[in-house]
């Protein structure tokens, strides 16, 4: 199998980052599952601020806790996922942003 990185054979994918309140995070991961995303990674944030005000990690409740969900996906899946995320974010606190990334091993996304 040929090494690609150095040879410039990299593939453009979409990186979707969703920052959303933890109680709704499973809605996002289920949405990604349904749309055939091959993977995602969830990070738990420490503190933050948005239109719904300031929050920080709390030992008593996850109600305000935000998580960052990162999913790198094939570009053709992006529009439908973003569309559904938009719907979700009408109800829940959070933001979504999308960028382009290069990957090796295109077949994994």
């Amino acid at each position: 199998m040929k090494r690609n990185g150095a040879n410039g054979v990299m593939h453009t994918k979409k990186k979707i980052e969703v920052i959303i309140e933890q109680p709704a995070s499973h809605l996002v991961t289920e949405l990604l599952d349904r749309h055939g995303a091959t993977g995602y990674t969830v990070l738990s944030a420490a503190t933050g601020r948005g239109s719904s005000g300031w929050w920080e990690r709390s030992p008593v409740t996850v109600a305000r806790q935000q998580v960052v969900i990162i999913a790198v996906i094939a570009p053709e899946r992006a529009p439908a996922i973003i569309d559904d995320l938009g719907t979700l974010l009408q109800d829940f606190h959070g933001v979504v942003f999308v960028s382009e990334v290069e990957v090796i091993r295109s077949e994994r996304f």
């Binding site: 309140e21 109680p23 709704a24 499973h26 809605l27 289920e30 719904s52 005000g53 300031w54 929050w55 920080e56 990690r57 709390s58 030992p59 008593v60 409740t61 996850v62 109600a63 305000r64 719907t87 979700l88 009408q90 109800d91 829940f92 606190h93």
Partner: protein, 335 residues
């Protein structure tokens, strides 16, 4: 029978109350003191495990079944009725939207286990016993309020939920039900209660050095943390709340306590247990209910219900409410 100012003083000068006050003051002064988050969670799990286990292990072998059943039914009714009262009071007196008012109301029907645990500490100090099955009443009161709160929201919310909301709610339903019926606090409390009941005194003897003797000290540390959390929640939303809304967080516990004492009279509870039922009715949830509301009523304003239950009602009950409800129960002549 101690008089009320004596009780208030006893309560204010107990280590647990002073540690709560220390945390509250440190938070207001914006000290960088923090109890690590996972430690706070563990302390709260410990308290529930301990209270549950000791409750189960000390349950009488039978006997007072009528009072037990009566208390459970009373708990159910209080938990369901208080949100209705709270909702209409909020709608009358404040400009909160329907969603948020319903969510707030649900918090007050449900209970704060930490307030319950602090009341255990208070009764211990004044030397009054209570029926161990009150632990089961805690569990029973946790959820009806949530169901009623959702019903209020769906019936009276200003805006029809959008289809997105409906889709979401649909997706999240299984999750919500688990959130409501299997939330961690209730599982530990009830589970430890059952285990305590099965293993009885010998089981208690084995783990007493862990759940018994250190209990009061752990409670102090946890209340230090709660003080910090409450005052930070308060500082973060200061100014966003109108006076009628803040007022609600102060008079609603009194209404709840009064209803609790009335129910205790009907059921025929003793002094300690009546105080406990009043405390439960007066307390507002800030663990299970907020998380459930984020899923079920995502458009309700979380800053409002968290501030009311955690930053106003909780301190009120710890500092003033518990001795007050006890004094009222004394005055009402509970045996």
């Amino acid at each position: 029978m101690a008089d009320i100012s004596q009780l208030a003083l006893n309560n204010l000068l107990a280590p647990m109350t002073l540690f709560f006050a220390l945390g509250f003051a440190a938070g207001l002064a914006r000290s960088d003191l923090t109890i690590p988050e996972q430690i706070g969670k563990a302390l709260s799990l410990y308290l529930m495990l301990a209270i549950g286990f000791k409750g189960g292990a000390s349950m009488g072998a039978g006997g007072e079944t009528a009072v037990l059943v009566g208390s459970l039914v009373a708990g159910l009714i209080l938990s369901a009725a208080i949100p209705v009262i709270g909702f209409f009071l909020l709608r009358r007196t404040s400009r909160l939207d329907g969603m948020t008012a319903a969510a707030v109301a649900a918090h007050y029907g449900s209970v704060s286990v930490v307030t319950f645990v602090t009341a255990v500490g208070f009764l211990d100090i004044v030397g009054i016993a209570y029926q161990q099955f009150m632990v089961a009443v805690v569990a029973v009161m946790e959820t009806p309020a949530i169901v009623v709160g959702l019903a209020l929201a769906h019936r009276f919310a200003d805006s029809a939920p959008r289809d997105s909301g409906a889709r979401t709610a649909n997706l999240g339903r299984g999750h919500l039900l688990r959130e409501i019926f299997l939330n961690g606090s209730v599982v530990v409390l009830v589970g430890a209660f059952v285990i305590g009941w099965i293993t009885g005194k010998p089981g208690l003897a084995r783990i007493e050095p862990f759940i018994g003797a250190p209990f009061a000290g752990v409670l102090c540390l946890f209340l230090l943390d709660m003080g910090l959390i409450a005052s930070r929640q308060f500082a973060a939303t200061r100014g966003q709340l109108t006076l009628p809304v803040i007022g609600f967080a102060l008079y609603m516990p009194l209404i709840g306590a009064a209803l609790g004492l009335a129910a205790a009279l009907v059921v025929g509870l003793d002094l300690g247990s009546a105080t406990m039922l009043a405390v439960l009715a007066a307390s507002a949830s800030y663990i299970a209910v907020p998380a459930a509301m984020r899923i079920a009523l995502p458009r309700a304003n979380a800053a409002v219900y968290l501030t009311l239950s955690l930053a106003i009602t909780f301190p009120f009950n710890i500092l003033v409410g518990i001795p007050l409800y006890f004094a009222a129960a004394q005055a009402l002549g509970f045996p």
